[in-house]
Structure formats: C-alpha cells, structure tokens
C-alpha cells in the first residue's frame, strides 16, 4: 500500500519573481521577466533576450553567505534560496549545525539541465588554461559539482535521507518531483526537497543559440519574445532560476499539522525511445499520450475531471504538437477541454528549472483558485485554434477558478516525458 503524498512548501527564484510572494504577484498580473541582455549582444548571440532572476533580492542571501556559497555556481545559490524558502514555508526549522543530528527521514533531489557551466566558464577553464590551478581554492569542487545543490542543502539542513542530482533536459524539474514522490510513496522517506535549478550563463545558452531554437526576432521587444501557442512564435526565450518544493507524506504533514497546498495523485515518466516520429529533439506523440494516460489512470480520475493544464509549451513549433497530443490524450469534446496556459510566457524557458518553477506556479493556481494569463498568445496558431477554444487559453487573469485537478507536463530533449496529476486535498 503506497503512502499518500502532499506538497507543504514552495520555494522559487524566477525571472519574474524572487520568492513565492513576488512570483505569485507576477503570475496574477501577467508580469514578464524577459529582458534584453547586453552581454549576449556583445558576444554575438542571435538571441539577446532572456529571463535572469535577481538572487540579490532573496531573503536567503545571508544563509548563502554564512554557509560559504557566495562564490559557488548560481545553480547552487539559486537552489539554496529556493530550497530554504520551501523548507521554511512548510513550517520546518533550520537546525543548529552543531547541536542537531542527521534528519534521516528527510532528503533532497535537485536537478539541472545545463549544470554548472557558469563556474566552469568563468573560473575553472580560465584558471586551468593559465596554469593557475592552486587559485581555484579548495571549495571549487563543492561549488561546481552537479550534486552541489543537494549537498549544500544537506549541509545547512542536516538531511540524512537520499541526497542526489538528476538530469533529463527540460523535464528535469518535473522528474525530480516525481522521483521524490515515488520515494515518499514507497515509504523510504517522510520528506523530500525536490525541483530544478539552472543558471544564467552565456556558456550554457550558446548551444541553444547555435541550434537556432532561441528566438531572434524580439531583441528590441523582449517581453514579446516568449510567445507559446502563438502563430508568430519563433523559438524560446532562455531563462534561469530554481523552483523547489517540500514534498511530504500525508501522514507526516498531518502529524505536524502542516498547511497542505496540494496532493500529488500521480507522477509518470517515460520516453518515446527516439522511435516512430520521436527524435533527439522531437517527441514521439505515442509516448507523450501514453505518459498522460498513465498519469490519469494512476491518479484514479477521468480525463474530464481535469480543470486545468499547466503545459510545457515553450514557444517553439513543438507547441502545436503538444496541443494535439493533449487533445488526443484527453479525448474530450472541444467545449470540455480544460484551461491551459504557459508559465514560460512570463519566465522564458528555464531548462532544468522549468518543471520545478512551473509546478510551483501550478500549485499556486490550484491553491489560490486562479488561472494566470498566457502572455503573447493573442495570435493563436491556427492549428491550435482549430482544435481548442480561444477562451481556454486565457489572455487575462481568471479569478475565482474552481480548480480541483491539475495536469502538469514537462518534455525534454532525448524524447523524455513527465506528467503529474495534482489535486486539491
């Protein structure tokens, strides 16, 4: 008998909001975090816009300094800020480092799509090439290793359960939440911090620019650049940040009388195997539909009960494919298709952090009862408007929305898929 799993804490550092309060305000008011980035222009990027979070606004900056992570990769610093916010938001305390024992019931799975490219580009590679290796100092490994985010949170919180890293491209953040969900459901942990983190670094974003998957048409109007579902979408706007959740067994949350934002009813992960029409960069629709079907079945609900979809929808040609997949997977009459929006329309595509940030956004909408606007979708792609009603993709905030069930999906290079069903408790 698997345990019921709930979400009791939210933490976020997003391009349009540092901390949950600011992020919630931006979601409701349709505030974009996409800006022109001078450095990208100087480096000759085709895309010179992106979403870069302002970590200097984080109330957890003193903790980052206290524990010696000021010079660490932003992947780690963002994860500390979002992870501690989720921990505190759940009503948990930061234990005294010298007086506490390991907390064997709590762990951490924090993933990243790009990893610590920032510190390799800014420090490790230049110092090594200059034969100046000693100057990297003894902290360089802990400041750059991929498990750095979970290791740092462990150092601060004394986490004694599984502490690890995961990576599955743009589905990373959602995957880490599902891995944590599985661990708690199986009874191997009571509490897990889980989510994704990715930093701003030209070294991390250059590859996407070279692939020409980033928009080049909105350098002079950055806030218009991320336009999921739009006929004029021309590629995604890159983003950075971290979204981390405190996931907990219902039993544990109830015992300590914690506030519960939502229940995770199911979480499915699969891959299209890069077969049929699936490739390294394009999803196999059969696998996407299978993933959504499995999630709905495991949640023990009907497709028609889903009130709202938080899509992957990244402002590329794949948006049309995604909508077609949702329509096929749910099999509902056009008028019964649920609301759907794209958080990326405000944050850009935060790669490995996207899933974490967007699950935080989805839970905020479920818990507070609203659907945020999907910016820049005024010119819906005709193949989308043919199969779902315009009103299901809000351009304005929908308040007092009665949302009981949310489907959240993330997809990634490598033909990997994730789908969660979240429910109001």
């Amino acid at each position: 008998m698997s345990k019921r799993v709930v979400i009791t804490g939210l933490g976020v550092v997003a391009p349009n909001g540092t901390g949950s309060e600011q992020f919630l305000h931006s979601l409701k008011n349709g505030i974009s975090g996409i800006r022109f980035i001078e450095e990208l222009k100087e480096l000759g990027f085709g895309c010179q816009i992106g979403g870069v979070p302002d970590i200097s606004q984080s109330s957890f900056l003193p903790a980052i300094e206290k524990y010696g992570y000021t010079d660490a990769s932003d992947v780690i610093r963002l994860a500390i800020a979002a992870g501690l916010e989720a921990w505190i938001d759940a009503g948990l305390e930061i234990p005294d480092r010298f007086e506490s024992d390991p907390d064997y019931e709590s762990g951490c799975i924090i993933g990243s799509g790009i990893g610590t490219a920032d510190i390799f580009g800014n420090k490790i590679i230049p110092h090594t090439n200059e034969k100046n290796i000693r100057r990297l100092r003894s902290t360089i490994v802990e400041h750059s290793m991929l498990s750095g985010p979970s290791a740092a949170l462990t150092a601060i919180l004394g986490l004694g359960n599984q502490n690890t890293f995961n990576s599955s491209a743009c589905s990373t953040g959602a995957e880490s939440v599902i891995m944590a969900f599985d661990r708690i459901a199986s009874g191997k942990a009571d509490r897990m911090l889980a989510g994704g983190t990715d930093a701003f670094s030209p070294y991390g974003w250059a590859g996407f620019d070279a692939m020409r998957v980033l928009t080049r048409k909105h350098n002079d109007e950055p806030e218009k650049g991320s336009r999921p579902l739009s006929a004029s979408a021309s590629g995604f706007a890159p983003g950075a940040g971290a979204g981390i959740l405190l996931i907990e067994s219902l039993e544990s949350a109830s015992k300590r009388n914690a506030r519960i934002y939502a229940e995770i009813l199911s979480g499915e992960i699969n891959s299209g195997g890069q077969r049929q029409s699936g490739t390294m960069t394009a999803p196999n629709p059969h696998a996407v539909i299978r993933c959504i079907h499995s999630a709905i079945k495991s949640a023990n609900i009907e497709a028609g009960q889903i009130d709202f979809i938080s899509g992957h929808l990244s402002s590329t040609m794949a948006d049309v494919i995604e909508i077609k997949n949702w329509v096929k997977a749910l099999g509902l009459p056009k008028q019964d298709f649920p609301y759907i929006n794209s958080c990326k329309s405000m944050t850009g595509h935060c790669i490995g952090a996207a899933g974490g940030i967007e699950i935080v956004a989805a839970i905020m909408q479920l818990y507070h009862g609203f659907v945020h606007p999907s910016l820049n979708s005024e010119d819906l792609h005709p193949e989308i408007s043919d199969i779902i009603d315009r009103e299901k993709i809000p351009l304005q905030l929908i308040e007092n929305a009665d949302i009981k069930y949310v489907a959240k999906a993330s997809f990634g290079f490598g033909d990997v898929n994730t789908c969660l069903i979240l429910g109001k408790l």
Binding site: R97, F98, R134, R135, R137, S138, T139
Partner: protein, 78 residues
C-alpha cells in the same frame, strides 16, 4: 601578525565556540574544527596578505596556529 592570521582562520571556522579556549598550540583541524581541505585556502590567504609563497612541503607541516606563525617568521627572515 598573529591578529591577521587569526582573522584568516576565523573565515574558515563555522562555530565561534572553538575560539573560547584557543591558544597558539591549538590545532587547525582537530581543535578549531576547520575542514582539512581549507588549509589550502588558508595558505593562499596568507600568501596574499604577507606577500610570500607557501611551498607544498611547508603546507603539509601547518598543524597549529604556532606553525603558521613560525613559518611567517622564517619567511620574513628569508
């Protein structure tokens, strides 16, 4: 000189209580509870402050606060 050395060491001690009974004979790792990996950083800080170079074999011999002070005296004499 000692004050500057203590300032450097304090950067790497998380628990202020370790300084309550500290003496020149206090061991950097065992008594001040400084992570052994940080001795490298301490030597780099000292190099910058006192404009000296700490060789690898000298680094290995830095066990106590007094060892650091002795090394600095020696380097000053050189």
């Amino acid at each position: 000189m000692k004050e500057q050395v203590i300032t450097v060491l304090k950067k790497y001690t998380f628990n202020p209580a370790v300084w309550d009974n500290a003496t020149n004979q206090s061991r950097i790792i065992d008594d001040l509870k400084i992570n052994s990996a940080r001795v490298v950083d301490i030597s780099l800080d000292i190099e910058e402050i006192f404009d000296i170079t700490v060789e690898d074999d000298e680094l290995e011999k830095l066990v106590t606060i007094q060892d650091i002070l002795n090394l600095l005296e020696k380097k000053k004499g050189d």
